[in-house]
């Protein structure tokens, strides 16, 4: 997921920094990717500092763990003052909590169910 967004953003000419604790994930980057990579756990603040997060215009938390995404998004927003923070949120119960702290929450489950509704409803008409 992260690599798709990173490749896209990089190809659009943005400066991209990726933090991932799994070094293999960097192999998914396209040869044209021109950004930086930080190998480490994003819940350790020193890794966020290494990525110069305070200079970011947009911060995306896309791990498959809601709690990790919540913590790093909160840090990006409240400690480093990143304006636009977007997070992947799996558990619909968590949605409200993310939004309360002005984190742009995107739920794969809600998106999927919306898409399914479209597919299911249209043939009936």
């Amino acid at each position: 997921m992260g690599s798709i967004v990173a490749n896209y953003a990089s190809s659009e000419g943005h400066n991209v920094v990726i933090i991932d604790k799994n070094e293999k994930a960097f192999e998914l980057l396209s040869p044209e990717f021109s950004g930086f990579t930080v190998h480490g756990d994003a819940t350790e603040v020193e890794n966020l500092k290494a990525a110069k997060i305070e200079k970011a215009d947009v911060f995306l938390a896309l791990t498959n763990n809601d709690n990790v995404n919540f913590m790093v998004s909160m840090i990006a927003k409240r400690v480093f003052g990143v304006r636009k923070v977007i997070a992947r949120v799996y558990d619909p119960d968590n949605f409200e909590l993310f939004q309360e702290f002005d984190i742009n929450a995107i739920s794969p489950i809600l998106l999927m169910s919306e898409a399914l509704k479209g597919v299911l409803i249209s043939p009936m008409e």
Binding site: V45, N67, M71, M74, R78, V79, D91, N94
Partner: protein, 221 residues
């Protein structure tokens, strides 16, 4: 009645639950580990919930009320932060104590609204610093044997200066109380600092008045 809800943690959560129950409070334990939960359910007079304490549906089973206290003890800071915010937002709990594993996250948790945190590394460090304090002072102050001595006293129960303020103790002019260690705290003394039984008192003085200082602090036999 107010209850204490303990989320996560291994042995520590067991001992903690046990001591809170002994004080007469109602305790709820939430833990992911099924085997641990079975053990807890047998050993403790507490409601034990087996499940992920970062999930709203699990936390709901604890029937949290806003006067309750929540103690969060998992080894993962991101899980602890999530639980803390969920119980506050959805159940109005204000009294939250969270373990913070990474010392760097202590300030971060405070910044993110979780004010009461415990960090083991910092706690142990504090104790270590106190232990190493005397050694360090000796290393940092070039004590010339004839001119200056550095003496440590532990104040006994029958000390003549117990419960007295430093300004009321007639220490010789060639001496000064430089620091006091009380339990785990280092106190930099002032005139109104009152000495207590068990205080470790560090005095710098000239060797000539050392006996006098000892008599004053410990009493004359």
């Amino acid at each position: 009645m107010m209850k204490v809800v303990i989320v996560g943690g291994g042995k520590v959560s067991y001992y903690l639950a046990k001591s809170i129950i002994e004080k007469g409070y109602k305790v709820v334990v939430i833990n992911k580990d099924e085997k641990f939960c079975k053990e807890m359910a047998m050993k403790l007079k507490a409601l034990v919930i087996n499940g992920d304490g970062t999930k709203l549906n699990i936390l709901s089973q604890a029937e949290l009320l806003k006067e309750d206290i929540v103690v969060i003890l998992t080894p993962r800071d991101h899980d602890n932060l999530m639980t803390a915010h969920l119980v506050r937002k959805f159940f109005g709990v204000e009294r939250i104590v969270s373990l913070v594993n990474d010392p760097e996250n202590v300030d971060i948790f405070k910044e993110l609204g979780i004010n009461t945190v415990v960090n083991l590394t910092l706690l142990i460090n504090q104790t270590l610093e106190t232990m190493m304090f005397a050694d360090e002072i000796e290393q940092h102050i070039p004590i010339e044997e004839e001119k200056l001595v550095f003496v440590k006293f532990e104040l006994p129960a029958d000390s003549p200066v117990k419960d007295k303020a430093l300004k009321d103790i007639k220490l010789p002019p060639e001496s000064i109380v430089s620091a006091i260690i009380r339990e785990n705290d280092v106190i930099i003394p002032r005139g109104d600092t009152v000495l207590k039984e068990g205080d470790r008192v560090f005095v710098m003085c000239s060797p000539r008045v050392q006996t006098r200082v000892t008599e004053l602090l410990l009493g004359v036999d």
